[in-house]
Amino acid sequence: MDKLDQEWLSAAVDGDIDEQAIKALSNDSYAQDKWCNYHLIGDAIRDELPDAIPLDLTAGIASALESEPELLVPQTPETKVTVEEPLVANAKVVPLFKQVGQYAIAASVAVMAVIGVQNYQQVEQENHPSPVLNTLPIMGSASPVSLQAEPSSNAVSAQEYNEQLQEQRRRINAYLQDHLLQQRLNSNSSLSQNSDN
């Protein structure tokens, strides 16, 4: 990263930037870190830093988006099968596993990007905005919405909070995608076949 780059990055932070540069920025994680720092410095200079939890939202959002394509790749059993003792699992799962791995659902069907942003202004308020789920039927930009289970306790560090938020998103995505995949796999099942409750 040379001086010239720093200049456009600095311009970008000030909002004085063209689309191409934004694209370049989006592909350069080093520049992104810088970008964040510049913003942070800017905020600090203007004395606009929040008292607590300076959430690194850009990283959160970016990694949430980045993780999307991975969701549509059937994961190989080797990487993910850790020896768990789940409440509802049994040893028989493994063979099915391989079969199911072949079925997949494209992100463009299933992408339910849940972008969580804690609204600073509302942290102090009694009424937290009700959680909203942002569904993206197509790849596209997501408008950040509020998502939080319960206001996390003050003791939680920014990093922990961020991780929790991401884990929530990941889990919600998994359920939504699986729901859509199940609709597809069972699209033929007629109601009369199985009517027990």
Partner: protein
């Protein structure tokens, strides 16, 4: 004079017959049209401010239904149906086939199978007429009998009964989702793309026997008309987390119930999206219950609360 009367009756009767058709009869005609006619429809799916254009072709060749669906924007995504096999061809995926007599994602299952089951939970009401995709359309409302599910509005082509538009409407009558034809045409000779689809070798579909559940979970309450469609044990797509799965449907709305071991990261107890998709989480003992579906979140919560473990 008599001739004139006969002439009048000949001209007027079919129109009169259409005028007297019940909402149910309109839907039954639609069901037939969807399965037997050869047509190509360009459509848009609108939800939560996003528009997805798609094209759908359908025909009947040698008594077998053939259909092709393609989403036109973004990464390639297609589906081909030859009789009872549907193959999904999607970007970054190995194509795979499943046994199904419909391509999921367009019109609801009940439209081409059993309209009768809908009468438990919905009533059909004839509405007004409107012009859609340049065609005269008749509105049929599919209204939920209770507040446990959404309602639908379907406009049917008055000439050939093919659906031109379907709206999903919330309990408060807000529009949640829309599938709308922008151009539709019928054909007599099977288009090349469908002929090609018949000739092609597609991956063969396999019957998967569902993995038996370890525990038997029972619902003490389900909204009227909802029945268990599938019950199995699988790993969550995307996270590989093992879950007990119960799929519910009332013919139009589909709800998924997942039971798994409680996790350290709790999910929000209730989330809803602009297109009516909701996800709710509850706990029963050590188990976490997640209910997902396009239905009012209140309904999903009640379903989750009604789950009991049967000994």
């Amino acid at each position: 004079m008599r001739n004139i009367l006969i002439f009048l009756s000949l001209v007027a009767l079919p129109a009169l017959a259409q005028n007297e058709m019940t909402a149910k009869a309109w839907l039954e005609n639609m069901s037939q049209a969807l399965q037997h006619q050869g047509y190509k429809a360009s459509m848009v799916q609108v939800q939560a401010g996003h528009i997805r254009p798609l094209v759908y072709l359908h025909d009947k060749v040698d008594n077998k239904e053939v259909a092709f669906l393609e989403y036109l924007n973004g990464p390639p995504q297609k589906a081909v149906r030859i009789d009872n096999t549907v193959t999904f061809i999607e970007h970054d995926q190995t194509p795979y086939s499943i046994f199904s007599n419909r391509i999921e994602g367009l019109w609801p299952a009940a439209f081409t199978s059993n309209l009768g089951i809908l009468s438990h939970s919905y009533q059909f009401v004839l509405g007004g007429r409107a012009r859609i995709a340049g065609r005269p359309g008749q509105l049929v409302r599919i209204i939920s009998k209770d507040n446990n599910r959404f309602s639908y509005r379907v406009w049917l082509d008055m000439d050939n009964f093919l659906p031109l538009r379907m709206d999903t409407v919330s309990v408060d009558k807000n529009l949640l989702q829309q599938l709308m034809v922008v151009e539709i045409g019928q054909f007599d000779t099977t288009p090349e793309i469908l002929q090609e689809a018949i000739k092609r070798q597609w991956p063969s579909a396999r019957v998967i026997s569902p993995q038996k559940q370890t525990y038997h979970w029972k619902f003490t309450w389900l909204p009227k008309g909802f029945k268990v469609r599938t019950r199995d044990h699988h790993r969550l797509y995307g996270s590989r987390e093992p879950v007990e799965y119960i799929g519910l449907t009332d013919g139009l709305a589909n709800i998924s119930v997942y039971i798994s071991e409680s996790k350290t990261t709790e999910l929000p107890s209730e989330l809803t999206s602009q297109n009516g998709m909701a996800i709710v989480t509850d706990r029963i003992g050590d188990a976490e219950v997640v209910v997902v579906g396009q239905a009012p979140s209140k309904t999903l919560i009640e379903i989750a609360k009604s789950l009991r473990l049967e000994n």
